[in-house]
């Protein structure tokens, strides 16, 4: 199985690469080959894609769209060929229609919604700090959907994952897909999304210890 981590110069992706290599060790029969690349050929030949993302929404989407042909080929592989893609942090945020960070920019528009800064409501909040940094719990609502069930297979009821972000994905509620929810500073937000082959996590499975590695293994076996 070929897995391509899309390298669009979004900052440090060595953690993502290392964690996928580690997770792949547990699935020797899948013969997983992991590549960090932005070559259109490697994206075309991939069975699964990973879209990391660090820093600001605007910088990420601009770098991605700045690589000739990258957005188009990703769109073809994900929306037409229905290959599995895992978006991590800003990688997930870019699935949205629009991100408000740094004056705003258009996203990929694969999942309807807008990415906005976390609002702090001091009167309801247990914490009032931004960024939201540290380990928080995610509650998944797989509702018997096989892909969602497989993605969270062998994890505890409300597993902990490592977060670091100030912006969150506000989905349009007209769409029906599986979500994961997390509570922070007086509100719940969408911390994971599983919409058929498009999967996103606001948290960092690559930095979330054993549960994170388990989730990556689950992704590799989808």
């Amino acid at each position: 199985m070929n897995v391509t981590i899309v390298d669009y110069y979004s900052g440090n992706v060595s953690s993502v690469l290392n964690s996928f290599k580690e997770a792949a060790k547990y699935k020797p029969n899948l013969n997983i080959k992991i590549k960090l690349s932005n070559k259109l050929e490697d994206i075309k030949n991939a069975d699964k894609l990973v879209l990391p993302g660090q820093g600001s929404f605007k910088n990420c989407i601009n770098s991605l769209k700045g690589i000739d042909g990258l957005e188009e080929i990703l769109k073809e592989q994900v929306l037409v060929k229905k290959k599995f893609i895992l978006g991590i942090c800003v990688g997930m945020q870019m699935f949205a229609d629009y991100g408000e960070e740094d004056g705003g920019s258009e996203g990929l528009g694969w999942i309807s919604g807008t990415v906005k800064k976390i609002k702090i409501f001091p009167e309801h909040a247990d914490v009032t700090k931004l960024p939201h940094i540290g380990w928080n719990q995610v509650t998944f609502f797989p509702n018997g959907i096989p892909i969602a069930e497989k993605f969270i297979n062998r994890l505890d009821q409300n597993p902990h994952f490592y977060f670091v972000h100030s912006y969150i994905f506000h989905p349009k509620n007209t769409e029906n897909y599986t979500r994961g929810e997390t509570y922070y500073a007086g509100q719940k937000f969408m911390s994971a999304v599983i919409k058929e082959n498009i999967i996103g996590t606001q948290f960092h499975p690559e930095k979330s210890g054993n549960d994170g590695l388990l989730m990556i293994q689950n992704f590799l076996t989808l």
Partner: protein
């Protein structure tokens, strides 16, 4: 609910741990990679390396340590000590650090924090503040605590937030190494001054000090070195103790 973090810190000199854990069965007590792995397997929420290598010719040893650690530990890794420039930060991140902590350079040249947080994102920029009490205020020290900048620590904390720091690592110079507990007054004052998370450091001697740092000092994370070394307390014990005191931790 967000959990409070416990961060063990390892001092690394010329690529070797200076004060380390003295566990039975540890093949090489001076190997930072092996020690970091023990901490992360034991439930540490993050690992911190402080590079105290003095000579320039050995400065590159930390990069190899960071690379190997990031291939074996899958929790966030913060690296500090001797970080002078945006290039240093870039190099550490490329070798696998998730966050870089900046101390002296942040005082001497505000552009380092401004430029690096713009370039790599605030999430990976930690400003380390070494503060020492002088009368009724605290002053920021640089060069591993040797030089007094005379800058007010509270004003400086606010300034660093504005410059783009994602977190502050606050160390009390008065308490560091004393094992009598964090400077709670300093922690709570800085925590209420800024809207970014703060990590308390300096002075931990027992598990109650960790509780105080969070409950009274309003720190979002607690860093400690010596209580986790020599097997005095495990990360697991610390977490269970915090949990018993009603502090949310990841167990």
């Amino acid at each position: 609910m967000l959990k409070n973090r416990i961060i063990p810190c390892l001092d690394v000199k010329n690529g070797r741990v200076v004060k380390g854990i003295n566990f039975l069965g540890l093949k090489d007590a001076g190997d930072p990679v092996e020690q970091a792995k023990i901490y992360s397997d034991g439930g540490a929420d993050e690992i911190c390396f402080l590079d105290i290598t003095a000579s320039n010719e050995n400065r590159d040893t930390i990069y190899d340590v960071v690379k190997q650690t990031s291939e074996k530990c899958f929790v966030p890794l913060t690296v500090g000590g001797g970080v002078r420039s945006v290039e240093d930060i870039s190099k550490l991140l490329n070798y696998g650090a998730d966050k870089v902590s900046i101390n002296t350079a942040a005082v001497e040249n505000s552009k380092v924090v401004i430029d690096s947080s713009k370039k790599f994102g605030s999430q990976c920029i930690v400003v380390a503040i070494d503060a020492k009490k002088n009368g009724d205020k605290w002053e920021v020290f640089t060069h591993g605590g040797r030089n007094n900048s005379g800058i007010d620590a509270l004003e400086y904390a606010k300034q660093m937030e504005e410059n783009g720091a994602g977190e502050l690592l606050v160390t009390s110079m008065d308490r560091d190494g004393t094992q009598v507990g964090y400077d709670i007054d300093l922690m709570s004052k800085i925590s209420s001054k800024v809207n970014i998370p703060i990590i308390a450091s300096g002075g931990v001697g027992n598990l109650d000090h960790l509780v105080d740092g969070i409950k009274l000092g309003n720190a979002n994370a607690v860093l400690a070195a010596s209580i986790f070394h020599y097997g005095k307390h495990s990360i697991k014990e610390a977490k269970e103790y915090l949990d018993s005191k009603g502090i949310p931790v990841r167990i």
